[in-house]
Chain length 160, copies 2
Amino acid sequence: MRLTTKGRFAVTAMIDVAMHGEHGPVTLSAVSERQKISLSYLEQLFGKLRRHGLVESVRGPGGGYNLARAAEAVSVADVILAVDEPIDATQCGGLENCLDDHRCMTHELWSGLNAHIFAYLRSVTLAELVRQQESRARGEPVVMRDQRPPSPRSTEPVTA
Amino acid sequence: MRLTTKGRFAVTAMIDVAMHGEHGPVTLSAVSERQKISLSYLEQLFGKLRRHGLVESVRGPGGGYNLARAAEAVSVADVILAVDEPIDATQCGGLENCLDDHRCMTHELWSGLNAHIFAYLRSVTLAELVRQQESRARGEPVVMRDQRPPSPRSTEPVTA
DNA sequence: GTATAGTTGACTAAATCATTCGGGAATAGT
DNA sequence: ACTATTCCCGAATGATTTAGTCAACTATAC
């Protein structure tokens, strides 16, 4: 589970398709213009999204892409996994054979943090992001649901 | 807010320091051996961690690194931001001047998803990860606290 | 047929990742 | 003072990823 600009481009594009897909397929040219992502890059990304069953394509004039599932049934994790095939960065190669005294803590740590983040991204749906986007467009304040309860925190300035 | 192997190396290393820091500073050589991360790479990472005030260094024999704050007061987001200086991938260059009909949706989407993920990573502390790690070492089942409530989900196989 | 639009593959400049090397500066122990 | 340890710093490097371009192809609506 990596999280890069590539995955975010894909999420952005998927939201665009979700928001404009009511009147038939959405062309990549349209997404490209609205989101300012190069057409060819989008073609690469949507190739993967299609092969992973997240979108369906319609060829020819009037064609384009549709979501293959309802926006409620597509998570951010689904999209990211589709375009950003996961790497294995546990030195032990994913095996459990790396056992000195503490059995490859790196491996445990990775999969642990991975699981945390994955579970979170899996809980955020495209539909939610679309709703948030539409609220913002209307100038309404954005309500972020279920943040975890506050706990002792650092005092570093927040500059994400 | 990016999430790559680099950031995870940093988190892994910080957890190692947190777990072994009870009896004085932890040397990077020790971290390097335990976590199988190259020493020079660790030096680069800890240079940034130090400049961001997350660790303190002690030179000379018996020296090494200590956490500058309690493990409870350091979030995963703090660590990642320190080593992985944030990029700006909103075509508009972070400005708000990109207003056609929908005022740079790319920008909004990015900062929105960013905020989600950042808020989550900010809520996970080093102390939590250390606890989880120690539980695992004792063979106890890992309890992951506060997942968000389940909602309509895809049926894709989970292979993060 | 022709224009539209997806499909595929090769190729590329730039950035980032992870590592290696070489030399410094500070300090504890002798 | 000498020496070993450890942090500190910058430069260089190969591999990978990013983001984009180009070109040729297939399917389809009109």
